[in-house]
């Protein structure tokens, strides 16, 4: 009986067939958002900073764009990348200090990171609106 159950186990690791635990999902999103914040995140941020501090005209142009609901809506995505990355990063710092390393705590903090990322994005979107 035991041998039969054993034989049904998958023989290879197929990432698309494995149900990832939630902390693993949070972790891989942290990595993906990190890469996206590097590119195109950094050059976009510098372009915005340049317009923001550049001149009265570029500042007005930027403000005008921020009044466009569609642009704010699109901005929510990189904002979520940023907030998720920060929240997941803070969770990592806590784990480094051996805080919340128990399975249940680690799962709870992973959910917390996910919720906080979305809430901070929503809050910023609301402030920009």
């Amino acid at each position: 009986m035991v041998a039969k159950t054993y034989s049904k186990r998958p023989k290879h690791l197929n990432l698309l067939k494995i149900k990832q635990p939630f902390p693993a999902v949070i972790s891989i999103i942290h990595r993906i958002t990190g890469v996206l914040l590097f590119f195109p995140g950094i050059p976009i941020l510098l372009c915005i900073l340049q317009d923001f501090l550049g001149s009265q005209e570029s500042f007005d142009h930027l403000q005008e764009n921020l009044r466009n609901p569609l642009i704010v809506l699109i901005l929510l995505l990189p904002l979520w990348f940023f907030f998720h990355h920060v929240c997941a990063g803070i969770r990592h710092l806590a784990l480094d200090q051996h805080m919340g390393v128990e399975l249940q705590q680690a799962r709870t903090s992973a959910y917390l990171v996910f919720i906080m990322g979305i809430m901070l994005t929503a809050l910023t979107g609301w402030l920009l609106w």
Partner: protein, 121 residues
């Protein structure tokens, strides 16, 4: 009998340094953002261009912002290097991407300094 090696089991240590730098730069960036939010809330409201320009024309804001960005670029380099080492196994391709990342980050550093010191004058 297995003889114990007299060599200590350690790595080259650059992994530890990167690990530490990534965390120090992360904390620095969060502190900068928190500081700027407090400053803006305390001395605001900043509604027009002139108010923002005056804020960023203060020397300490320029320095703090430049340090934030250098921290960001260093942090990004460590993270990207780790990702490239994990997923890009062809040495030539990885090396090219790493060179591209280094050159762009150096360019971003100069660009940031230029934005902070030379724009809006």
């Amino acid at each position: 009998m297995v003889k114990q090696s007299k060599l200590a089991v350690t790595g080259a240590h650059y992994g530890l340094k990167d690990w530490l730098v990534q965390r120090i730069t992360a904390i620095l960036m969060v502190l900068y953002l928190a500081l700027m939010i407090v400053v803006i809330l305390a001395t605001g409201p900043y509604q027009d261009y002139v108010a923002w320009k005056n804020l960023f024309h203060q020397q300490w804001v320029r320095f703090a912002t430049l340090i934030f960005f250098i921290g960001l670029f260093w942090h990004a380099w460590i993270g990207l290097r780790n990702v490239l080492m994990d997923y890009v196994h062809a040495t030539a391709v990885r090396l090219m991407l790493q060179i591209l990342a280094i050159v762009s980050l150096l360019f971003y550093t100069v660009w940031t300094a230029d934005i902070l010191w030379n724009t809006g004058n």
